[in-house]
């Protein structure tokens, strides 16, 4: 079958000789993919920053498709169902799944205990192949996948597998109270959805910080928020203090993660030399620009090693830090309601539709921010017929 194939940092290709996935467990399903996205966090794999990313891996944790085959124990799905598949692989039985922490399942990733299994996200997240392919194996098919409502646009559905839930949970973890000032670092797809979601919690002011003008322009219109280019601000934290009556923001959201620009020392030690688990510039700014007693919410992805962050100021300012992988399954009913009620239209952030055969160019366009790319989706040949 046709599938994306990782060959090393910055090198991927469309490979027609990938073996078809098989049912390997009675709870598995095989899904024929109809759409898959490239996520900003896929770029961390693409850039070689995530340990145990093996050559031959197929990425892709944001996908929807049609059920082609089910294991003996699967009861909730049948062949032919159109399903959206959360990026978390969750058993539904362990103590963490029982608490709604589907991103922290303890029965889906043997290689690391800190994170549950994730489709196509290296062996550090379970070693599963992902959905940037014609077919994909979906474990625990009775737990994660959800049948796409008949009246839902499939472009909206594919963005419910990660981007919208992650952005929404970023705002949710911020504990936003009506009137709060919320600063979102990063105007990528997740930052855009976090800014949009902040209003649903009653934010009084939403500010987005980035350095790419086309993305700032997009989020200003899409999420009706204030935007600032940190390249023109000089000292970002000082600017945010001034614009919040010298007190700082109530909530700061790090929607950037390990590939942040804006600080030479972080960039060199984190992104170039990999002496820390990526550049922690956005997190650094978030901690220092949040109000005393405020909340920092982290959904930006960092590697599993360590980072240089001002932990002393976390203590000094009495900050609460909340962070997690989004618990997609828990959030789906509420987010589907937001889409069907017309409050949020995730599909509007899709800028590029690219055939799966051109996956190398799709990654390069997204990684190098060419052609004003915000969100690319890959369409396999069978879905284009």
């Amino acid at each position: 079958m046709l599938a994306m194939n990782y060959r090393g940092p910055y090198r991927v290709r469309a490979d027609r000789s990938k073996p078809m996935p098989k049912i390997e467990h009675s709870g598995d399903a095989i899904v024929r993919v109809t759409r898959s996205c490239i996520c900003g966090s896929d770029l961390h794999l693409y850039h070689g920053m995530v340990p145990d990313t093996r050559v031959g891996t197929t990425f892709g944790h944001e996908f929807i498709g049609v059920v082609e085959e089910i294991g003996d124990a699967v009861q909730n799905l049948k062949v032919g169902d159109n399903v959206l598949v959360p990026f978390n692989i969750a058993c539904g039985k362990c103590v963490f799944c029982e608490q709604g922490l589907f991103g922290n399942c303890h029965e889906s990733n043997p290689e690391a205990t800190a994170v549950g299994g994730i489709f196509g996200y290296s062996h550090t997240a379970g070693g599963f192949d992902g959905g940037q392919a014609e077919y994909v194996r979906v474990p625990y098919a009775d737990v994660g996948p959800m049948i796409i409502p008949d009246n839902m646009d499939h472009d909206d559905a594919v963005l419910l597998t990660d981007v919208f839930p992650t952005g929404y949970q970023a705002a949710e973890m911020g504990g936003i109270k009506p009137g709060d000032t919320v600063v979102v670092f990063g105007a990528g797809p997740v930052g855009i959805m976090a800014a949009k979601s902040a209003w649903l919690f009653g934010a009084g002011r939403v500010i987005v910080i980035d350095h790419l003008e086309y993305r700032l322009e997009f989020v200003k219109n899409y999420a009706q928020c204030e935007v600032y280019n940190f390249r023109s601000l000089g000292d970002v934290v000082l600017f945010l203090k001034k614009t919040t009556d010298w007190l700082g923001a109530d909530v700061c959201i790090d929607a950037v993660g390990c590939e942040a620009a804006g600080d030479a020392m972080q960039t060199i030690t984190g992104r170039k030399l990999m002496l820390q688990s990526g550049s922690a510039t956005a997190l650094h700014w978030a901690i220092n620009s949040v109000k005393k007693g405020g909340i920092v919410s982290i959904v930006g992805v960092y590697g599993p090693t360590g980072n240089l962050i001002p932990i002393g100021n976390v203590v000094n300012k009495g900050i609460t830090i909340r962070a997690n992988q989004a618990s997609v399954k828990r959030l789906l009913p509420k987010l589907i309601d937001h889409i069907q009620s017309g409050r949020v239209s995730p599909k509007d952030i899709i800028t590029h539709r690219i055939p799966l055969e051109e996956v190398s160019d799709a990654y390069h366009i997204f990684s190098a921010k060419l052609d004003n790319c915000i969100k690319p989706i890959l369409i396999p040949p069978s879905a284009r017929k």
């Binding site: 910055y10 050559v55 009137g179 000032t181 002011r205 599993p304």
Partner: protein, 160 residues
């Protein structure tokens, strides 16, 4: 300085999810009767282990399901097996895995050539899109590369 007096009617859904009872926000510690009892849940059936799967030494064995593509092999596999002797808390665990990834990249090139497939690195790097959308940047990179090559050759000639 709260701004609740402002008019947010232009924002569809403003405040619809603001629940004063939902404080603090998720993830809350949601206690269940199974808290503090260890791994007592009814485990899903175990996926058969038909290929080598490494597991963190911070857990007693494999999870009920796991990915099977790309099992450890070759020199990179040896490095990965060694890395998994150390816990996730040890930096050497992760750095060894990164070293294994780079070795694996070279193994991948050998593997391609052994199968008669010479990697089209230009295409794999997204060269076509670079030519289409970033001609200036591509020209600059080529010029920079050529400049470095000329300087290197000149330096080597001077040393002779």
């Amino acid at each position: 300085m709260k701004k609740t007096a402002q008019d947010y009617s232009h924002i569809n859904g403003w405040g619809i999810d603001a629940d004063p009872l939902d404080v603090p926000a998720y993830p809350m510690k949601k206690r269940t009767e199974n808290d503090n009892k260890g791994m007592i849940w009814e485990r899903p059936p175990q996926q058969p282990e038909l290929v080598e799967v490494l597991h963190s030494n911070e857990r007693p064995g494999l999870t009920a399901v796991f990915g099977t593509p790309n099992p450890p092999k070759g020199l990179s596999g040896k490095i990965r097996r060694y890395a998994f002797k150390y816990s996730e808390s040890m930096i050497r665990h992760w750095l060894l895995l990164l070293v294994a990834d780079r070795v694996n990249m070279i193994e991948g090139i050998h593997e391609d050539i052994n199968k008669g497939h010479f990697p089209d690195v230009f295409s794999e790097l997204g060269g076509k899109s670079e030519m289409k959308y970033n001609k200036v940047g591509l020209t600059r990179k080529i010029a920079l590369g050529a400049g470095i090559a000329v300087l290197a050759i000149a330096f080597l000639r001077t040393r002779r």
